[in-house]
């Protein structure tokens, strides 16, 4: 599943049973915070992070912040 298709897929919150909505989410790491467009449940606030995002862009960002 690509990043684009993951963001467009009809994801639902398992706890609330409602569709996740696109939202600007603050991702924080090592004292820095960044706004990222992700899917979030408007009721409970749970955020869906696609695997590809975590393994590619987020991993790269973490490396940069860790000064590696």
């Amino acid at each position: 599943m690509t990043l684009d298709s993951a963001n467009k897929a009809p994801w639902h919150c398992a706890a609330c049973g409602i569709p996740l909505e696109k939202a600007k989410v603050q991702i924080a790491y090592l004292g820095s915070a960044f706004p990222v467009d992700l899917l979030r449940c408007s009721r409970c606030g749970i955020v869906f992070i696609p695997e590809e995002l975590a393994l590619t862009r987020m991993a790269e960002a973490e490396k940069i912040l860790e000064d590696k």
């Binding site: 991702i27 790491y29 820095s32 960044f34 862009r57 987020m58 790269e60 960002a61 973490e62 940069i64």
Partner: protein
């Protein structure tokens, strides 16, 4: 996160530098290498300075002049301040540019620099400023802001390698210097 400009620290570093200077009301300030002119507009609207920009490329923002930083279309001693943010490291002859900045600054005028630098050789930049007739009144490392910009670009899937380069010792500094009296 960067306030609309793709530069480490965005406007926060510019504002920090301006706060450490004692510009007169409506002080005359030049943004050397102004790009889109967004900083010129910020200096005018947020700091009340009579700011203008120059760049080697054309710019839609006003006031602006298309010129080289080596040959500024400004009278000697006419300015209270010169900003050169994220530009000096791109120039083949930084010393020549610094001497030109010194020419257009009034005595005690301020030079504001922010740019990439080699953290293992920070003395070189300080020495160059002093050789060009400036006294440093502020020198700060803001490498964290550089890394944050790189991380932001990585998260957005943008190429951050030109921003961070490959050397581990690459950092980002903010400096404010004053033109010496002689």
């Amino acid at each position: 996160m960067t306030g609309g400009i793709m530069r480490p620290g965005g406007f926060s570093l510019t504002d920090r530098a301006i706060a450490s200077c004692s510009f007169p009301a409506k002080g005359r300030v030049l943004d050397a290498g102004c790009g889109t002119g967004i900083v010129v507009e910020h200096l005018r609207s947020h700091h009340g300075l009579l700011a203008c920009g120059i760049d080697i490329a054309t710019c839609a923002s006003r006031p602006f002049a298309q010129a080289s930083v080596y040959s500024l279309p400004v009278k000697t001693g006419a300015l209270n301040g010169v900003l050169c943010e994220c530009v000096l490291s791109l120039l083949p002859d930084a010393g020549r540019a610094l001497r030109e900045f010194g020419r257009v600054l009034a005595v005690d005028g301020y030079l504001i620099l922010s740019d990439l630098y080699d953290r293992e050789q920070q003395g070189c930049m300080r020495e160059l400023l002093q050789c060009c007739g400036f006294s440093i009144i502020l020198w700060e490392d803001h490498t964290k802001a550089l890394r944050e910009l790189g991380a932001l670009m990585a998260l957005q899937g943008l190429d951050h390698t030109t921003c961070l380069e490959t050397k581990k010792s690459t950092g980002y500094y903010l400096a404010v210097a004053r033109k010496d009296t002689c």
